[in-house]
Symmetry: C2
Subunit: 460 residues, 2 copies
């Protein structure tokens, strides 16, 4: 360990390495609820892409497992290190290198937070449209998990908003993939391959993100529905309407009560309506033109009524903002309420009613609680799972994941597999695909140093 620490110090400077007991608690995991935190042997904080590459070369030579870390806000344990391994923290590589208003891209280092990028791009009327609900998250972390969030229904997920990368390979080289162009057809799309690979293939050292114009006018419509089924059947119709909401969230009655209570937020919904509502839809609309927005708000109100909403409310600016913020904090509310796990199965939109029914049935069979909210427009459901018994919880999760996959969906829409869901993933996924992915992994990382035990493989 001493020798590795010494050589890391030679690469990044002694101030930017900590080893053994000097490793701070922050570096022992991310926000994943399940599983224990693990103290790595080293934390190293490179300042340049070349330093990242040199660190990886050393790790390959010395067979030291490497876990990349942005802001540590992940929910699947992909930033949970291994004992004996090292964390490469991108906290010093947090510069916005360029905001290019002609090509509508920003070039950033991976450690930049969404919050910083949001502020800087707003100054020129543009924005990076991935809002995973936690603005302290880093762009590098977005790349790792293929982060989504509320606005994905209109703007897509991270994968759809990254045009290029510079990345350090585990073998110690730097490569540039993609660029400031919107398309290429020149060999395999390494950008797309690295996005969502949860730190197992290469580490992004620079990211080219797409920017979109910020639209001047926005409105938020809240609609209570008598049943969860009615909400879920309404979702595909709203997506098909052409109204192009940038937010289309469902929130079940339990979750709505919890998040509004936590946020001390009153939405002005009469008690009798609230008591008769099993779930809510939140529809966000935006337009560059105020009149067009007003027309769309009217149209969405009519559509919601037609689709069985009990009513619909156009929220005032501050209420709207608070509700969206409260929804974004749903994870923290669930955590505070004692949730044992938070998962994010995605299914085809049409399968939402069946998926939620099957999740409730699985919860009943295991005497567990399952409540939630989610990106209904994407078919992406965030469920908070309440079940203290680890065996029952594992059974419940397995049944929910299996139900999602059976309906044509996947275990995770945006949180990733990480360490937390790996066992389920390996049991449920086609072994031919797992083996193919393992071969791709070896093509990038022959020594197997990058996040061993994440996605697949042993934890060593």
């Amino acid at each position: 360990m001493g020798d590795v620490a010494q050589r890391l110090a030679e690469i990044v400077g002694a101030d930017n390495v900590a080893s053994g007991d000097a490793v701070g608690d922050d570096y022992t995991g991310d926000e994943t609820l399940a599983g224990d935190r693990v103290r790595p042997a080293h934390v190293v904080k490179p300042g340049t892409a070349e330093e990242v590459a040199a660190v990886l070369r050393l790790a390959t030579e010395e067979s030291v497992p490497v876990t990349a870390r942005g802001s540590g806000t992940g929910l699947s344990g992909a930033a949970r290190p291994l004992a004996g391994g090292m964390v490469v923290s991108f906290e010093r590589m947090n510069a916005i290198l360029d905001i290019d208003t002609t090509n509508h891209v920003a070039v950033v280092q991976p450690g930049v937070t969404l919050s910083d990028l949001d502020v800087k791009t707003a100054e020129v009327g543009l924005g990076y449209t991935v809002y995973p609900g936690e603005m302290s998250a880093s762009v590098g972390g977005n790349v790792g998990t293929n982060a989504g969030g509320m606005r994905a229904v209109k703007y897509g997920v991270t994968r759809n908003n990254i045009l290029g990368l510079q990345a350090a390979l585990p073998t110690g080289e730097l490569v540039r993939t993609g660029g400031r162009t919107v398309k290429t057809s020149t060999g395999y799309d390494l950008t797309q391959l690295i996005i969502g690979s949860e730190g197992t293939l290469a580490l992004a050292t620079e990211v080219i993100v797409k920017l979109h114009p910020r639209l001047a006018h926005g409105a938020t419509v809240l609609a209570p529905f008598p049943t969860l089924d009615t909400v879920m059947n309404a979702v595909p119709r709203i997506v098909s309407s052409g109204l192009a909401p940038h937010i289309l969230e469902y929130i079940d009655a339990f979750t709505m009560a919890a998040i509004t209570h936590t946020a001390q937020l009153s939405l002005g919904i009469p008690d009798d309506v609230r008591e008769a509502s099993q779930a809510y839809l939140v529809v966000g609309l935006e337009n560059r033109d105020a009149d067009r927005l007003a027309g769309d708000v009217e149209a969405v109100g009519a559509l919601l009524a037609e689709l069985g909403a009990s009513d619909s409310y156009v929220l005032e600016g501050p209420s709207a903002r608070k509700l969206i913020e409260a929804r974004e904090k749903a994870f923290w509310t669930a955590k505070a309420a004692g949730a044992d796990e938070v998962i994010d199965v995605v299914v085809p939109r049409s399968a939402l009613p069946a998926f939620l029914a099957e999740s409730q049935a699985a919860a009943a069979r295991t005497e567990s609680g399952v409540v939630g909210c989610g990106h209904a427009g994407d078919g992406n459901v965030h469920l908070a799972v309440f079940q203290k018994d680890p065996d029952k919880r594992a059974r419940l999760l397995h049944e929910i994941f299996a139900a999602g996959m059976e309906l044509g969906g996947a275990i995770s829409g945006e949180h990733g597999i990480g360490r937390a869901k790996k066992d389920h993933f390996l049991r449920l996924e086609d072994p031919v695909k797992i083996e193919l992915m393992s071969r791709v992994k070896r093509a990038f990382d022959p020594a197997g140093i990058l996040n061993p035990g994440v996605l697949f493989g042993r934890e060593d």
Copy 2:
């Protein structure tokens, strides 16, 4: 050869295999201008995914090179087979398996043509928005080259419009990637990896494509500009405007004269304006609402004037349709005019003026002709190259490709590398990236049977 032919017949039926002299001329290449056509040893026409997988297993066992073929409309030679190899033609696998109006996807076999898919999806008011300019192209071919086309400026390229695949691996297994969901974060994105791989990694046997609502109202605005530079500087401004054109094409004066002459199309532009115009922009707008469209047409006219257009004309329906069709046929016009090569470099939009200037300079140095048109909104330029001398032409192409890459672009935006541009690609691209791609290739195709010599590798 006899043994392989016999075994192929056992897999797909004797009627669906041709060998030796029985192989028709159609199977000896695609539409690529450069290079010779090559007769393969066998053509096999599987009818099911399982048959494709069995054919590939046989090819791996017998080390027979395999070239996949959709409609043969490619422009980079990725569907040009090897002598001694086999062509797997998807002409029999041309069914539309499902049009899912709830999830807005279609599930199709790879041999379905864009034309068939367009007709069927139109019946339910939806559409697959990749229009590469040749409606006889197949969806499988789109997947192979990551095809683009005029509407990519709004809807993205193939990569952005495919949600999942079933694919046959060269080792003979079938895998399913992605699905009817709009996002997943469950391991490496094999869908994206296979898209654009030009038949070198796996063969798509089923494709899940995104569908978009067809908007009821559309308009086409044509604007002549005094110089190419003025056009190119206008492009980023129109993209930034929020008017979201679904077509944003430039056509240089030479190309406009050629395509309108070929199409016998009169656009009603006065002679004096035409003679003073070096280039044109074609701006397509669409909306679900007629009034909003009218407002946008007015706004785009004002913007074009501000950006230096000599004038702008809202084309009548038939003229608009004919101009778009004539533009789509620009490749055929160039071919008929004796063009020796057609290329499709992509650069950041801001680099368009510099790229065109450098292309003209390179043409002057080699006494060649270079004229063109292209997807200006994407920075994707289609240049017809007139130079009979192969050495001069190779030098010219190298200089144009190098200029594009130097400006932050890539050799191809949508046509791919194939066989035609491989030598340039290998000379200009970072060797570390090439080596990484080769390792990914081996992870999929250890025996190297899939399209050897396309993208990289020897032709054997």
